[in-house]
Amino acid sequence: MAFSKSISKTLVMTPERQQEADSDWTIVKQVQAGDVAAFDKLMLKYRERIYSVVYNLCGNREDAADLTQGTFIKTFQSINRFQGQSSFFTWLYRICVNATLTHLRKNRLRTFFSFEQFTEEEKSTEIIDALTDKSGADRETFVKELQQKLNEALQKLSIKHRTVVTLFEIDELSHDEIAEIMDCSVGTVRSRLHYAKQLLQAELQQYLR
């Protein structure tokens, strides 16, 4: 059985996205009007996604937590400058990606990895089952090893290629959204994605069947 991506990628904003953007804009206007508590709604809505992006770019939990907090603080400080020309989540992602890229460039030589807990869900369980027959402790060991290999393969990519792969494959953003966040063309996003997948395929050959 072949697995396919559960969410189809779209090049235009879907109605769900549009609705989401509208509700975000309403909350943003409340914050701009002085309702500071309204910002918590935005934070609760996006904190896990932002954390996931940063974690997959950095490869460790500590930096991910700090950068996620920094992203929200910076967003809060400059929310008055947001005029709704783009969707709020694109703006938030852009702040997040820029902060993370700056951090990664500054600390290029100081890298360490710490993994989050692997939460088994229906789909992830299926994938693990496809990869191994092991159960119990052996299965956990296999999962840890796989986590490490995935992380190493991602870290071998350049920062820009890693960002594209993370946003597209893990966070499921569209090419257009990634292009807007990374301030480049859609063609560039596609090209980077293609190249990054080739590299990952070579690195993870032993797990691909």
Binding site: M1, F3, S4, E48, S52, F76, L146, Q147, L150, E169
Partner: protein, 294 residues
């Protein structure tokens, strides 16, 4: 006991492997601590007071039309200050590009040594005839034969210097060796015998002439020192000689002071020139000692 798996996927794609990364999530407890930390940081960011220059700098960065002239004005100001500072330093050092003049007192007997470096510098002197040497006295009485030597203008400075040194060497009765042939360079004279320690000597600091720069020519200008010369003009003490020479050129010559006192003053003055205010406050001059507090 887990149920037996009936269906097993046959193919795993790269996208499926990357999908596993989504399953890496922090536990629920993590978010409680995260929220608390974020709240604290948010409050700190609200309370934090930005310095005024940061705000100004940020506003300049936003308005490009204002940033360019301000930046250009800043660069111009820095350039002007730098030029002013360096030109003032050069004014202290620069002297008329005439000649190195050597004056000796009447009881000056001989030059006993030559800076080795002076030989090299002599090679450039004939190539720069505009710096013709005029040997004479400024304040002290001259030896009669010195005038004869100095009157011959047709000779090159190196020849004049050589002959003068030979003449001076001939006057000496002591056994000190003279190497007149080696004196074809920028002149450096040294008194060696202790009984001449208090003679009034004008020293030529030949160490300045090593670099073959125009500025080195000005170093031939005689400078008076009141120090016992045997200890002042040794080759190893050329640095000290330069310090003394700089003291003389700055126009602050004070014959009533001893050499260490003048050196101390000179050091303090130069420190002040460089704007080392803090160093100034730590410096203390007492008699012939210079102390620095740490």
């Amino acid at each position: 006991m887990p149920a037996p798996r009936t269906q097993r996927p046959t193919r795993v794609a790269l996208e499926d492997l990357l999908h596993l990364k989504r399953a890496e999530r922090p536990p629920a407890e993590f978010w409680a601590g995260f929220d608390q930390e974020l709240r604290q940081k948010q409050l700190a960011a609200l309370v934090e007071r930005k310095s005024w220059w940061r705000a100004e700098f940020a506003s300049l960065g936003r308005s490009r039309w204002l940033g360019f002239p301000v930046g250009a004005a800043a660069i111009l100001a820095v350039t002007l200050v730098s030029v002013q500072r360096y030109s003032s330093q050069d004014r202290v050092r620069a002297e008329p590009r005439s000649v190195g003049r050597v004056a000796m007192s009447a009881n000056l007997a001989k030059a006993t040594a030559v800076y080795p470096e002076a030989r090299r510098s002599a090679e450039i002197l004939p190539e720069a005839p505009q710096h013709s040497a005029t040997l004479g006295t400024e304040t002290a009485p001259k030896h009669p034969n010195v005038d004869n030597l100095l009157a011959e203008d047709s000779r090159t400075p190196s020849q004049q210097i050589t002959e003068l040194a030979q003449h001076v060497a001939g006057l000496d009765n002591s056994a000190d060796s003279v190497e007149p042939k080696t004196l074809d360079g920028a002149l450096a004279l040294q008194l060696a015998s202790p009984d001449r320690a208090n003679l009034d000597l004008v020293l030529v600091d030949a160490s300045h002439s090593i670099g073959f720069e125009d500025r080195s020519i000005s170093a031939f200008r005689p400078r008076r020192i009141a120090e016992a010369l045997p200890t002042a003009v040794a080759v190893t003490e050329s640095r000290r000689s330069r310090l003394m020479a700089a003291l003389g050129s700055a126009g602050t010559y004070a014959p009533e002071l001893t050499a260490p006192e003048r050196a101390t003053r000179s050091v303090i003055r130069h420190l002040a020139d460089d704007g080392w205010d803090r160093s100034m406050s730590r410096l203390q001059a007492q008699a012939d000692q210079l102390s620095i507090r740490f």
